[in-house]
């Protein structure tokens, strides 16, 4: 009953117009033996007040960055989201409309998507952007598909070991059962070994996947990798952190052919991992192989500039099994959020944000490395906003659990991804973390080490 319109009187009138006696009769085309003969076994209906109490109770069972200083990263980041993003993206006209099949009454969404494509191109230094994909991980898989589909002979996919382990898992899932060989270059020092890249990439290589800043926060020498890749006529795919581009060279400047990213940091909350925003930008040559929606500019019959979905012959609803991808929905609302975020920050704001992350992360690395029990790992590599620490006592779990009691989400244990690193954890510092919080975390780790009772941040 929650949102229904038909009252019993309405139903009666409508049934009469249809010429049947009952709603039941409308389902007569479903064979009797295929029907459910009982009520679903589900919790009973809740009105809004009850539901609110229920969800509030569930939320109350979670700790969150609202209650704990969050030093977690690894692909999902506690960046600040300006209020204007929420205010604008929550307008009903944006979030209760759908794919702009009728451009005449969808110019709001279409223009916003065209602006998104423009912003992503400007941000990445690439020629083209689509109107978004699901998330950073599946966007990377789509990039590989696109590279494989360009017709270059090689079918081997080379992936650096510093790429997000979950992204690498996704590539395995997508491609190994198709018989496509994925060659992972193991990472020893938290950064790509150029000699190994040189050694691995060859004429059979279709594409090379690099992430920079990489999973450990390290900044890869993408330009050098690009040289190796292009020498072998392969495609360079770079997964990047959009916030880092406030400081770092852009994928397009470094020689990437396809650039993909997890874009939720641009104005969307962490939401326990999704929905997020898959960014994909590329060189012009991929224009008719791009997956997902693309918006183009054109004119209406009166010569007025306007925007439409375009190049739809790439897409599944036209081409079916010959489409470049099976993608149908995009992440329009989160592309919108990213656009609003970038429009609010502008070049200066993004640079400052990236700078704050870098400064604070480096301060934190120094500070936390001073804790007796901890030592920095991969200390020689340049990094952006994340770095790895080793618990010399080998009890990452215990250390982080105690820190949690003191009010910190202190880091991501790395043993879950790299068994050999189960004494390590990844620390992330965004612009939201204060010196006070960093100092308090260092103090807390020290206190835990010395066995003193901890104090809450």
């Amino acid at each position: 009953m929650a949102y229904l319109y038909n009252t019993p009187d309405d139903q009666h009138a409508m049934l009469k117009a249809i010429g049947v006696d009952s709603i039941e009769a409308l389902f007569s085309t479903i064979p009797e033996d295929l029907r459910l003969k009982r009520d679903l076994d589900l919790p009973p209906q809740m009105g809004e007040l009850e539901l609110t109490q229920h969800l509030s109770a569930l939320a109350g069972k979670n700790a969150s960055p609202a209650t704990h200083a969050c030093f977690l990263g690894g692909g999902s980041y506690d960046h600040f989201v300006p209020a204007a993003v929420d205010a604008l993206a929550s307008r009903g006209e944006f979030y209760t409309s759908y794919t702009p099949y009728q451009p005449e009454v969808s110019q709001g969404n279409l223009q916003a998507m065209f602006e998104y494509q423009t912003l992503i191109c400007d941000l990445t230094g690439m020629d083209l952007s689509n109107a978004s994909l699901y998330d950073g991980g599946s966007a990377l898989a789509e990039a590989v598909i696109m590279a494989l589909n360009t017709g270059k002979r090689g079918e081997k996919v080379v992936v650096l070991g510093t790429v997000h382990p979950e992204y690498r898992q996704i590539l395995q899932t997508y491609f190994t059962h198709l018989g496509i060989e994925i060659i992972e270059i193991p990472c020893v020092d938290g950064i790509a070994d150029l000699a190994k890249v040189e050694e691995t990439v060859n004429a059979e290589t279709n594409c090379v996947v690099v992430q920079s800043p990489n999973f450990f926060g390290g900044i890869e020498d993408v330009a050098a990798i690009a040289e190796i890749v292009h020498k072998n006529d392969a495609v360079l795919i770079q997964s990047f952190d959009p916030i880092s581009l406030g400081l770092l060279k852009r994928p397009g400047d470094l020689g990437a052919d396809i650039a993909v990213a997890e874009g939720h940091s641009l104005g969307s909350a962490m939401q326990y991992g999704g929905p997020y925003l898959g960014i994909m930008a590329c060189n012009d040559k991929f224009v008719r192989r791009l997956p997902g929606r693309i918006v183009g500019q054109t004119e209406d019959r009166r010569g007025k500039r306007c925007w439409v979905l375009t190049l739809q012959t790439r897409e599944q609803h036209i081409r079916r099994e010959k489409a470049t991808s099976n993608i149908c929905t995009n992440q329009g609302l989160f592309a919108l959020r990213a656009s609003i975020y970038l429009a609010l920050l502008g070049p200066g704001g993004l640079k400052q944000c990236a700078t704050l992350c870098t400064q604070k992360a480096h301060y934190a690395q120094t500070k936390l490395s001073e804790v007796e029990r901890l030592e920095p790992v991969f200390a020689g590599s340049p990094f952006f906003k994340e770095f790895v620490l080793r618990d010399t006592q080998g009890n990452v779990e215990g250390l982080l659990a105690e820190a949690r009691e003191a009010g910190f989400l202190g880091g991501v244990p790395l043993g879950q991804f790299f068994p050999e690193m189960n004494d390590c954890f990844l620390v992330c510092v965004t612009e939201k973390r204060t010196k006070q919080e960093i100092d308090a975390l260092a103090r807390t780790f020290s206190l835990i080490h010395s066995g003193s009772s901890t104090i809450h941040a």
Binding site: Y95, Y98, Y101, Q107, G274
Partner: protein, 482 residues
């Protein structure tokens, strides 16, 4: 006001954001990151004040039709009302701000919700195992087909063919292709169902999966469903249900009961996830017991009083997405389902079907509905006769509806109906609105053909030149040939 692009509104020196001063001792940035890695170009992002950004996007928004503002009977998309409470609840602190790598001890409320939702989806589908990971319906299809592939591999079978009716969503063959299968199309019979002869002809021994949308995109329940499923199973194949049209059968029939081994949901359709101008959706899948080991990792399990993420799934296909999934969409689905309860869910479908049949009964008199007198939650009318007689196309009718304040139905899909007009009223529209829509539709069919060809007349733009857009693509500002 809002037709200028951000890049045109930009003005050097403006910004909307003031970051705090750096509170840690600052070091020259080159001391932290080698200069060769640092950008030497200024970013070309637009420079605007907060007020300008707000005005721009506020005005842009009003150029959209949306469920909140207009009746939106877009067939196959289930444009139902998106409850405001879901937006509020999905944005609660402790829900919206959780990091995906938080320790399980800190997210028991979230895991409880997701665990319960796995069970709810299984109960509604009649399929006992659930993965919440896929990011969209098409992603769910792909995931399920990968599960199927791994299943066949585990039993040592090499099957290559995926069958799908020609009226199916394009995602079906596209997903099959991506998953490494060969997509084969089955014809529809004159009544809109699966052509059983064609089906039998194509049901070879190497059938892997039959993908079926039931109720179909024509809004019909497949009358031979049981026979089809039995035949596929007899060949050792699996049946996949495209759940796009679950809005018609909640609590009335369960895919697991009528022969499906796998299915996906579209929570943004069936369970009121906002469509967001194109997304995000989510694509949770449910599967039969024998397929459970192959589902993506992790799944949520309950261990005594505690909820945990289970990664220890050696036969799993692995991951199809980073982190857990489109949790924000799933939370809304959970809220929607709890807002209804078992009886309420069935009422959703009853009223969706009632509304569709009522519309059908009114529309068929002036716009033929080739496939059947009765429908489920949507139906497909045809402007074929109108086109023949007066040159009026489905597109013309759709465009003209915009002038009257109605979003157009889906047109030209499914491909099996000429000049198809696919109308899905959803359960959250009133009889008054349906009546107004029918009257308008009728009025349009009586209007002058020229007027319709030129429609819409009162929208922010007239019909755009889509051919030009595709021929000389201009895909970003300041980079267009024209």
């Amino acid at each position: 006001q809002a037709t200028q692009l951000l890049s045109e509104l930009s003005h050097p020196g403006r910004t909307a954001v003031t970051w705090p001063a750096c509170d840690v001792p600052e070091q020259p940035i080159e001391d932290l990151i080698p200069g060769s890695y640092l950008s030497d170009k200024a970013l070309q992002l637009p420079e605007l004040t907060e007020g300008e950004v707000v005005r721009h996007y506020t005005n842009l928004s009003t150029k959209n039709m949306s469920v909140d503002t207009h009746y939106y009977p877009l067939g196959s998309c289930t444009m139902k009302y998106n409850p405001k409470r879901n937006e509020r609840l999905a944005s609660l602190p402790g829900i919206v701000d959780l990091h995906p790598y938080q320790d399980e001890a800190t997210i028991q409320g979230m895991l409880q919700l997701l665990f319960e939702l796995q069970g709810i989806f299984s109960e509604i589908s009649g399929l006992p195992a659930c993965s919440l990971q896929p990011a969209a319906g098409a992603h769910g299809e792909l995931t399920a087909l990968m599960v199927a592939a791994k299943y066949f591999k585990s039993i040592g079978e090499d099957r290559k063919v995926v069958l799908a009716p020609d009226s199916s969503h394009g995602t079906n063959p596209a997903s099959a292709q991506m998953a490494g299968f060969k997509a084969v199309s089955i014809k529809s019979d004159p009544a809109g169902g699966v052509d059983m002869d064609d089906f039998r002809a194509k049901l070879t021994d190497d059938i892997a999966v039959l993908m079926i949308t039931n109720p179909s995109t024509l809004g019909l329940f497949e009358k031979n469903m049981r026979e089809i499923a039995d035949a596929v199973h007899a060949k050792g194949g699996l049946v996949y249900l495209d759940g796009a049209n679950m809005n018609a059968i909640l609590g009335i029939a369960r895919p697991g009961d009528f022969g499906a081994d796998m299915m996906h949901y579209n929570p943004h359709k069936t369970f009121s996830g906002p469509h967001g101008g194109g997304g995000p959706g989510a694509g949770p899948i449910c599967v039969a017991d024998k397929l459970e080991p192959f589902l993506p990792s992790p799944v949520v399990v309950k261990d005594g009083e505690n909820y945990k993420l289970n990664f220890d799934r050696p036969e799993s296909i692995g991951r199809v997405r980073s982190f857990f999934g489109n949790v924000g969409v799933l939370v809304r689905a959970y809220c929607y389902i709890l807002s209804h309860g078992p009886v309420g869910l069935r009422e959703i479908s009853e009223n969706a079907v009632l509304n569709a049949n009522y519309l059908l009964s009114q529309v068929k008199h002036f716009l033929p509905v080739p496939r059947g007198e009765r429908c489920m939650h949507e139906f497909v009318a045809s402007a074929g006769k109108l086109k023949q007689e007066r040159g009026i196309t489905a597109m013309d009718i759709g465009k003209r509806l915009l002038d009257y304040g109605f979003h157009a139905p889906t047109v030209y899909f499914p491909l099996t109906v000429p000049e198809a007009i696919m109308i899905e009223p959803t359960e959250t529209e009133s009889k008054e609105t349906l009546d107004a829509f029918v009257q308008t539709l009728f009025r349009i069919t009586e209007e002058d053909a020229e007027l319709l060809h030129e429609a819409p007349h009162s929208t922010p733009i007239s019909r755009p030149n889509e051919v030009q857009a595709a021929r000389s693509p201009c895909l970003r500002a300041n980079f267009c040939s024209s």
